[in-house]
Amino acid sequence: MSTTSHQHTRPRRRLGVGTWAPAVVILATAVILWQLYTTRSGIDPRVLPSPSRIITAGWTARSALWANTIPTLQETALGFSLATVVGFGFSIVIDASRILRNAIMPLLIGSQTLPLVAIAPLVIIWFGFGITPKILLIALLSFFPITVAFLEGYRATDPDIERLLATMGAHRWRIFRTARLPTAMPFFFTGLRIAITYSIVVAIFAEYAGATSGLGIYIQQLTNVYRTDLVFAAIIVTTALTIILFAATYALERIMIPWYRRSRSPHQR
């Protein structure tokens, strides 16, 4: 068992009051202080709007916010799906042969050093202001953690299980499907969680670089007209979106690999 266990995620704790209360207290304190500061200091609300003003403005502009959230969400979902497919594909190719690993790995690492600020406008010049360049940019910048996660996962396969399958007459691909891939699944979900946070950031930035709709371009337009209250409202929506998608990976994990979290609860062997 020890060789298949997966060290870098901890068993899920029950979400009791003790888990979320400290975060809520800190957040509430910060918001109250912020509110007090903006009302007492008389600072120009265009420089720093108060939390209450942000919420009021956000609520008033809710349909515009929502209309710009949809394209961002779409781009993220599609780009992220592409990243998963590509990430998995690369992991299989790299796992299959040492030569391919040596050939491809440096390119993949290199792809992660491309500065987004420089390539986002280029990709938009090539593919236009539509959804395609965003999907490509998201996939380009978030496939890597997924590839790495799969590769780590394959390597964690219990050698006893592989040997056993070999004695049963299983060949490489069969062993891959029966043992290596399932072993890698918990690692994949860890990679997924890293990739999902990248995806949103890249989506926003890609829109910033040129788009007709989406939270990124929305934020840019509002910044230009000093509607900082709505900028903050859009940031809150972005953050909420990230948290929801992040939580969704846990839900997906529970459905897809039900044996995993439960098998790691502390009172078990």
Partner: protein, 259 residues
């Protein structure tokens, strides 16, 4: 070896002068042994002496430096389907339910899922896994995990079973429980089996014949017959003959430098 009816039969498996080394590390040295139909032979030796290498040679995952292996009088090919192997760790797949773990070997043979399950279902009770078909391995006790791994080995219906320290990971009490259970089951089925162990009592209790191996590189230093009647029980363990064979084995291990 003489069969029950007194006739001399050819061995089922014949290993002759098997020698193996990993690079410059010599692991097996001229190991010869035989296994007859329905016999349980134990290999006893110190940890790390090369017993497991022996099994990986038999199952075809390691090619020996020299020596030959004959099955039913014919040399065996690489990756023969003659052996069902149970590794030291139970090697249950954590993501598969018990039923899908025990049918793993059949699945690899290409047996349809429905048929594989039908073959295994009636055996679950015998292996103490009744009602646990849908459980995941982490929900089983250590003994149950070992029994599931054994069931996975048995249902492959290979001509010879290779058990590599099947109870090594269990606590003393579960181990004795498993040994008596196994003795009873094997006694009824007469499965040809090679058992690797470093537990002398386990070897005497279960085996028909025992080969004592030296520390690495492994050589056969003694061959001991266990003429104790079957079925054997806990009382057998305190029988003077049992104690005598146990002492004989301990001496053999000591003189080969293992103790």
């Amino acid at each position: 070896m003489t069969d029950v009816d007194g006739s001399v039969s050819a061995p089922k498996l014949c290993v002759a002068a098997l020698t193996h080394s990993y690079d410059s590390l010599s692991v097996l040295e001229e190991v010869s042994l035989t296994l007859h139909q329905g016999e349980l032979v134990a290999l006893v030796g110190p940890s790390g002496c090369g017993k497991s290498t022996m099994f990986s040679i038999l199952t075809g995952t390691t090619t020996p430096s020299s020596g030959h292996i004959e099955l039913d009088g014919a040399p065996i090919a690489r990756h023969t389907a003659a052996f069902a192997y149970m590794p030291q760790s139970d090697a249950l797949l954590p993501w598969r339910r018990v039923i899908d773990n025990v049918t793993l070997g059949l699945e690899m043979q290409g047996v349809r899922r429905r048929e594989a399950r039908a073959r295994v279902m009636p055996l679950l009770a015998t292996f103490g896994l009744d009602g646990f078909a849908r459980a995941y391995p982490f929900q089983l006790s250590g003994g149950m995990r070992q029994r599931a791994a054994l069931l996975r080995t048995v249902v492959q219906e290979r001509s010879i079973m290779l058990l590599d320290e099947p109870f090594g990971a269990l606590d003393a009490l579960s181990r004795i429980e498993m040994q008596t259970w196994l003795e009873d089951l094997w006694n009824r089925h007469s499965w040809s089996t090679i058992l690797i162990t470093h537990d002398i009592r386990e070897a005497v209790f279960l085996a028909d014949r025992i080969y004592v191996l030296s520390p690495r590189p492994a050589r056969v230093t003694a061959e001991v017959r266990v003429p104790l009647p079957r079925p054997r029980s806990l009382q057998t363990m305190s029988h003077p003959d049992f104690v005598g064979i146990e002492a004989q084995l301990r001496d053999a291990l000591a003189s080969s430098g293992a103790l």
